[in-house]
């Protein structure tokens, strides 16, 4: 019997200045080190362009795979919101890891907020990673390629190279925020978005 999966929701409790990160979505039978297919991530753009948000390969252990979401040369980066589309029959979203995020550098935990929700829309992870209050935690000039957060997936089955089940993409609505207030919410920065695909064998 397969254990139940609880909705994945990583919420930063700002008032308590405590951020819960990378909460596993399921536990039990799907151990990342269990036998089965071995997963790999192949980015669409191995060398990120300037002014981009790009998925790059992180660590991989058996069926568990980490995918870095990186920012390359974007000035006044305050936060980003996006959705990641995936095939839930092929991949299981397990959470996010923000421990190496550049957003957390030089500010207190209460000055940043990360959230990821894979429960509300099938096959989509809704993600936000942002600083709070630009007067206290100002926007960051990202001068190289820096980690925003890490997505953690697990392959449910073998995925052939180029198969639709392994494709990851950034979905709308998505935005990079520059920390200014505009009528619609936050001022936007134009970037290019590049994702990739997972194989498992």
């Amino acid at each position: 019997m397969t254990p139940s999966c609880f909705p994945i929701r990583v919420v930063a409790a700002i008032a308590a200045a405590a951020i819960s990160l990378a909460v596993p979505a399921c536990s039990g039978s799907s151990s990342p080190t269990s036998s089965g297919p071995v997963a790999h991530f192949t980015p669409d753009t191995p060398t990120p362009a300037d002014g981009s948000i790009t998925m790059l390969a992180g660590s991989s252990v058996g069926t568990a795979i980490s995918i870095r979401v990186t920012v390359t040369k974007v000035n006044t980066f305050f936060g980003a919101a996006f959705r990641v589309h995936y095939d839930p029959t092929s991949l299981l979203f397990r959470g996010i890891d923000t421990s190496s995020s550049f957003l957390t550098q030089g500010v207190t935990p209460g000055d940043v907020d990360f959230q990821a929700d894979a429960a509300s829309v099938g096959g989509e992870v809704i993600v936000v990673a942002t600083r709070l209050n630009p007067t206290v935690a100002p926007p960051v000039d990202v001068t190289a390629t820096s980690d925003l957060l890490t997505l953690q997936f697990q392959a449910r089955k073998a995925i052939a190279a180029g198969a639709a089940g392994g494709l990851l993409s950034f979905d709308d609505p998505k935005q990079v925020c520059d920390g200014t207030v505009v009528p619609s919410g936050c001022g936007s920065i134009a970037v290019t978005w590049s994702a990739g695909s997972v194989t498992a064998h």
């Binding site: 409790a13 305050f78 936060g79 980003a80 959230q115 809704i126 209050n133 200014t180 207030v181 936050c186």
Partner: protein, 703 residues
């Protein structure tokens, strides 16, 4: 109100034994005992209960061993002033054996030479843990601040009132801090030719406050009436106060009241009221402060009132409020489950009546209130005819006669009124408001404003249907307002209703309105007024909201409709005579997206669609700072507003970003970073609370 016992215990009955002064004693009784000067100990118990009681001093206990005792007793100490405790041996509150039996058969039952009660309990005394049966004039009589608890009382009868228990406070009271308690008893199969088949309470106060608690009793299959129209097939309560400083308080909580019957007079001249419970204030004088609460706001205090019947009005409950000048009277019916009762003429579940006295000649006013709140009314029936007023769930009637405005409040709120039926008017509710500024036609008029407030009620799946299929009206509710005289106004204020899936044969399936403006002796006409706001009227089988055929709106018959949603009613959403135009006055016509419990979905267009001038009340944040339509609007159960900060229909990271950039900003002093849209809790700053609201709804969307 009828009084049947004089609260004077004769000296001859009570002064048989003077016990020793000092610590309270326990006197034991057993069927194997022997009555003697020294009896009452375990080795030598007394034989009869009355003998032991007569030996008792105030504060003593008389413990009675299991067995049947053919006695009819007076429960009071044999000497001195105070109370005595009479209980079965080893009494505890959980005992269930009831093996100690007081049986009036052949002694004081109806067939005996001297029919009377099996036990008369005097002020400050207690009787508990007995089976008590076969009383010929009530089974137990309580006089004063007595405790009658955890007894099994049955097979009592009386040719007057109170077949099971008769309780009178009033002149019997001696201790201002004491109260009468009737608790945890089972009372069944008792009859009274007049009122109170199981229990009659004369809760009067004259010099000493009267406090009566009726709690946790099970009252089944008792019958009252026949000799006259009965008040209370199960329970009848009359409060009274002899002067303006007197206070009488009655609470009726956590009782289970099933299968009781209030009969009409056999002669056919009087109707019965209250199959389960009947309550009236101002039993005789009514000059002071009187309050009766049936149920309450605290969990566990509501009564279960099921399957009772009145051959007249109020199958489950009937309440009657008639304050006099100078008085303050209140009746509350709250938190009860009132199901499957029948009021043969009107008011299947509840009948509520109030009237305001002519105050033109009175030196002082009065304060009166009837509150019917948070009850569940389901499956009740009002099988009346075309001359009756129906009201499968509720029949409420309020009359003011030359009574100044604001002295009498009548509110019906937060009730769930579902699946009730009638063969006349108002499957769910029938409401009547009447105001007259010149009741005696003497030409002396006074401003008179009678109003019933009908708010936050759910009216669903109720039926108005009669065999002819031609005359039953108002599947959800029928409402009648009449004002007589130029200074009279009769109003029905409907607000925050959900009226859905009700059915009628002809005409108005949701709300049916009749209004009359009539003249006083000065030939001036009254103003009848009905309003409907912040409400949902949906999917009724017939016209959603309509007027009687002879009713045409005008200056004296006014109908104010605003901020409502009406859609999907098979006979049309609005009577054309009302002149309602969708899109004006906040009226919309959209699917309210109700679930099977009649709660709007998160994305219902009725969320935040109420009158901006109506406070949001208790709606939890985020509430959009605007009240929802329907019965949950303004309550803690209202569907919360989706915290869609950027207005794109979905709560996601973009909303978090919108909050993030305004985070820490305040409206005062003005901060250019402050965004009202980001301030979800409307507290003037954008902070973690606002972020937490978004987090709570993260990922949710409305198309």
């Amino acid at each position: 109100m009828t009084s049947k016992f004089v609260a004077v215990a004769t000296a001859a009955a009570l002064a048989l034994y003077s016990g020793p002064a000092g610590a309270a004693a326990t006197i034991l009784v057993a069927t194997t005992g022997v009555d003697s000067a020294t009896c009452g100990t375990a080795p030598a118990p007394c034989k009869t209960i009355q003998f032991a009681l007569d030996k008792a001093a105030p504060g003593d206990a008389v413990d009675v061993r299991a067995g049947t005792y053919a006695e009819c007793i007076l429960v009071a100490p044999g000497t001195g002033v105070g109370g005595v405790l009479l209980e079965n041996e080893g009494f505890d509150t959980a005992q269930t054996t009831f093996a100690t039996v007081l049986d009036g058969t052949g002694v004081c039952d109806a067939a005996s030479a001297a029919p009377g009660p099996v036990a008369v309990v005097f002020d400050q005394s207690t009787i508990q843990g007995f089976t008590i049966k076969n009383g010929g004039d009530s089974v137990v009589v309580g006089l004063g601040a007595v405790t009658i608890a955890t007894n099994k009382i049955s097979a009592g009868s009386t040719t007057s009132i109170g077949g099971g228990i008769y309780l009178a406070t009033g002149a019997n009271l001696t201790d201002p801090a004491a109260k009468a308690r009737i608790a945890g008893n089972t009372i069944d199969s008792c009859t009274a030719d007049f009122d109170g088949g199981a229990l009659y309470v004369d809760a009067s106060a004259s010099g000493v406050p009267s406090v009566v608690e009726i709690d946790g009793n099970t009252i089944t299959t008792n019958t009252a009436g026949g000799a006259a129209g009965a008040f209370g097939g199960g329970i009848a309560v009359f409060t009274d106060t002899a002067s303006s400083t007197d206070v009488s308080t009655v609470t009726i909580t956590a009782n289970t009241i099933t299968g009781n019957t209030a009969k009409n007079a056999t002669s056919g001249t009087q109707f019965a009221y209250g199959g389960g419970i009947f309550v009236a204030t101002g039993g005789a004088s009514g000059l002071g402060a009187e309050s009766v609460t049936i149920g309450g706001s605290t969990a566990g205090t509501g009564n279960i009132i099921r399957g009772n019947g009145s051959e007249g009005l109020g199958g489950g409950v009937s309440v009657n409020l008639q304050p006099v000048p100078g008085a303050t009277h209140a009746i509350v019916v709250q938190g009860n489950a009132i199901t499957s009762n029948t009021g043969s003429k009107a008011g299947g579940g509840i009948h509520a009546f109030s009237t305001g006295t002519d105050l033109v000649a009175a030196a002082t006013g009065f304060a009166g209130s009837v509150d019917i709140e948070s009850n569940t009314l389901t499956g009740n029936h009002a099988p009346g005819g075309p001359t009756d007023f129906g009201g499968g769930g509720i029949f409420a009637e309020s009359y003011l006669f030359r009574t100044p405005s604001g002295v009498l409040s009548f509110e019906i709120a937060k009730n769930s009124i579902t699946a009730n039926d009638t063969t006349s008017f108002g499957g769910g509710a029938s409401l009547l408001v009447f105001a007259s500024d010149d009741p005696n036609s003497d030409g002396v008029t006074s401003a008179t404003d009678a109003t019933i407030g009908f708010t936050n009620n759910l009216l669903a799946k109720n039926v108005a249907h009669d065999a002819t299929g031609l005359q039953a009206r108002g599947g959800g509710a029928y409402q009648y307002v009449e004002a007589s005289g130029g200074q009279a106004t009769a109003s029905l204020d409907n607000g925050l209703l959900t009226v859905a899936q009700n059915t009628t044969d002809v005409g108005e399936a949701g709300l049916a309105w009749d209004a009359v403006s009539s003249s006083n002796s000065l030939s001036t006409d009254g103003h009848a007024h009905v309003s409907l706001t912040n409400s949902i009227v949906s999917a009724n089988e017939g016209v959603g909201v309509g007027l009687g055929g002879s009713v045409f709106p005008g200056p004296l018959l006014s109908f104010d409709i605003s901020y409502d949603d009406s859609l999907g009613n098979t006979g049309g959403d609005w009577d054309p005579k009302l002149g309602v135009a969708t899109g004006t006055n906040g009226v919309i016509a959209v699917d309210p997206a109700l679930d099977s419990f009649f709660t709007p979905s998160r994305c219902s267009p009725t969320i935040d669609a109420g009158d901006p001038a109506t406070p949001v009340g208790q709606e939890l944040l985020p509430n959009g700072n605007r009240i929802n339509l329907g019965h949950l609007g303004g309550t803690v159960s209202a569907v919360r507003t989706l915290p869609d900060v950027n207005g794109d229909g979905q709560v996601d990271g973009l909303d978090v970003l919108a909050i993030a950039v305004s985070f820490g900003a305040t409206s005062l002093p003005p901060d250019p970073r402050f965004s009202a849209a980001a301030d979800r809790d409307l507290d003037g700053d954008v902070d973690g609370d606002d972020l937490s609201y978004v987090a709570a709804f993260f990922g949710q969307a409305c198309p």
